[in-house]
């Protein structure tokens, strides 16, 4: 359906990635944000808190990140599209309630503008060290969806996609920006409301008497009833049956948890998104994401000038992982090179999917800046040389 025009600031703007993310959220229909300010993410909520009153939205500056995530879960259960915004240290604090959101199948968006870590690390400087935490940060088995924008324009576009995916799959979606994209200002074109697709919260048409909150009847996503609409139901972080009641049994655990995984994994082909450049005859493929994808394209130019046939696979959705594509590529290319601003995180997934069919080279950076393109180019050239 089309978005509420009140949230869509149509036109060409000069915005940083944080502001663009905020605009994307408002265009997607987000009307509740709870957060605790943290560099480099604060501009997202600055933007939203300034614009929300005119469209009837609610922003609450909470006492901390635990409470922020709890408020988002609560708001989402009233039928509102809800989001929180943070950076690494706050992301760690949110993990408990992100797990709750996953278990309760709560549609919501968590924005993490990544900075250098661990701990409080480099507050004002870039990192990509939270990409594994986005997937594995809370305890137990669950699946999430995570996206990585490479520009302010994508911060706008993909925030809308993040909300749409959260609604479609009733799952917390991690929006993994990085400080560089968050704090860089570029042209952002916001289309007319008629050109934007938003997935609304679909409410059950069952009567309160027949409704069961976690009954799926052959589908993988349960129907939603808003708290306060007269439906008597129970929802909990405990392992639960179709009625939402806790049941401590092996059978119920299997039914309850496997569906949390299956609803994402069975639909991975629909969710996974990537962009390819010059892959057709590539001997080396650079696999990367976020700001590092832009820097890698300069490295690719340098390596091509040295005669290396090199292509780019830019991951847009990092979770679920582009497993099938990496498996296929590993059969046909000589090597994969994986630059990221951490000491080697998503490269582990690339290695796993490549399954030893081709060498996988990690190009690490501890954070605080982006790679020197020449450093990535050197690894590409070495990988190309070992191929021949």
């Amino acid at each position: 359906m089309r978005p509420d025009p009140a949230g869509v600031l149509t036109g060409a703007h000069y915005l940083d990635g944080d502001f663009a993310c905020g605009e994307g959220a408002m265009a997607a229909g987000c009307r509740f944000v709870a957060g605790y300010p943290i560099t480099p993410s604060t501009e997202v909520v600055e933007r939203i808190s300034r614009r929300f009153p005119a469209m009837g939205g609610t922003f609450i500056q909470m006492e901390d990140e635990l409470a922020s995530m709890a408020a988002v879960v609560g708001a989402a259960w009233t039928g509102t599209k809800a989001m929180t915004v943070t950076s690494g240290p706050g992301f760690s604090l949110m993990m408990e309630n992100i797990g709750l959101a996953a278990m309760m199948e709560t549609p919501c968006v968590v924005v993490n503008v990544q900075r250098g870590g661990p701990s409080t690390g480099l507050p004002t400087m870039v990192g990509q060290g939270d990409v594994m935490q986005a997937r594995w940060g809370s305890h137990g088995d669950y699946e999430v969806i995570a996206l990585t924008p490479q520009s302010p324009q994508e911060a706008f576009d993909l925030t809308i996609d993040a909300f749409n995916l959260s609604e479609r799959f009733r799952v917390p979606v991690m929006f993994m920006m990085d400080e560089c994209v968050g704090h860089m200002t570029e042209r952002v074109v916001i289309p007319e409301p008629e050109e934007i697709d938003v997935v609304p919260r679909v409410l059950t048409d069952k009567s309160p008497q027949e409704f069961e909150p976690y009954s799926v009847n052959g589908t993988e996503i349960p129907e939603f009833a808003r708290a306060g609409d007269g439906y008597r139901f129970h929802t909990t972080g405990l392992t639960h049956d179709e009625r939402g009641y806790p049941v401590m049994s092996v059978d119920c655990q299997e039914t309850c948890v496997s569906r949390l995984l299956d609803k994402i994994n069975d639909n991975a082909d629909e969710i996974v998104r990537f962009e390819e450049e010059g892959i057709e005859d590539a001997e080396v493929v650079v696999v990367t994401y976020g700001i590092t994808a832009r820097v890698a394209r300069l490295a690719i130019d340098l390596a091509r000038a040295e005669g290396v046939k090199v292509g780019l696979l830019r991951l847009i959705v990092i979770w679920p992982f582009a497993e099938r594509r990496i498996r296929d590529l590993a059969r046909s290319v000589g090597a994969m090179v994986v630059p990221e601003i951490n000491y080697g995180q998503l490269v582990l997934e690339v290695e796993r999917c490549a399954g030893g069919r081709c060498p996988v080279v990690s190009v690490t950076h501890g954070g605080g800046g982006v790679h020197d393109p020449a450093v990535i180019a050197k690894k590409i050239i070495e990988a190309g040389a070992s191929r021949t």
Binding site: Y14, H183, M184, T185, E186, I291, R294
Partner: protein
């Protein structure tokens, strides 16, 4: 200028002068009103009001991939401390645009420097706060990097509502001041000579 038509600019001054807004206006003029791409990064550090602060721009007719700058083609210095901090990185054939009452530059052979009393001009308009906009006007005239109409539009869209008239007056005064220091823009660009410039 850099390869591939990429031009790099650093704007520096002290916190509170509107350094980031000046950078934002130049970037917006390029990216929204002049059909170029412009990536702006503002410095985030322990900067507070009064200490050196800066914004950088990578401007190109093509795509800007690498967001940070190396050695800028143009340094806009609105404070002495900012100039001292960044003077060495200006390209050997780069252009310095500066606040002449606050910055007393020594430039290398091959570099060109253009100063304007932007603070005094702003004060003569009744508000020292528009000093940065005077400087944006002077930058536009001296460098010729982006058409004056684009810069003017960017000023109009970037300043607080209700202050457009004052800020546009500041911009025009800064722009006109170039007549005191040079006859045509410092960059070789494919456009007609400046209005009022001889020859």
């Amino acid at each position: 200028m850099s390869e591939g038509g990429r031009v790099e600019v650093r704007v520096t001054g002290f916190g509170g002068q509107g350094v980031v807004l000046a950078g934002h206006i130049i970037g917006r003029a390029c990216a929204i009103h002049a059909g170029k791409n412009a990536t702006m990064i503002q410095s985030f550090g322990p900067e507070a009001r009064g200490s050196a602060c800066s914004a950088t721009l990578a401007i190109s007719d093509g795509e800007v991939l690498y967001p940070y700058i190396g050695r800028p083609d143009i340094l806009v210095a609105m404070s002495s401390e900012g100039f001292e901090k960044y003077r060495d990185e200006l390209k050997d054939d780069g252009i310095l645009v500066y606040e002449q009452d606050l910055v007393h530059p020594v430039v290398k052979e091959g570099q060109r420097a253009y100063g304007a009393p932007s603070t005094r001009i702003a004060e003569s308009l009744g508000r020292a706060i528009v000093q940065n906009i005077v400087m944006v006007g002077f930058f536009g005239a001296t460098t010729g990097l982006v058409p004056v109409e684009a810069l003017r539009e960017a000023v109009e869209h970037s300043v607080p509502a209700g202050t457009e008239k004052l800020n546009l007056a500041a911009f025009d005064r800064g722009f006109e001041y170039h007549k005191n220091v040079l006859t045509q823009p410092a960059l070789e660009v494919d456009r007609p000579p400046l209005e009022g410039a001889p020859g």
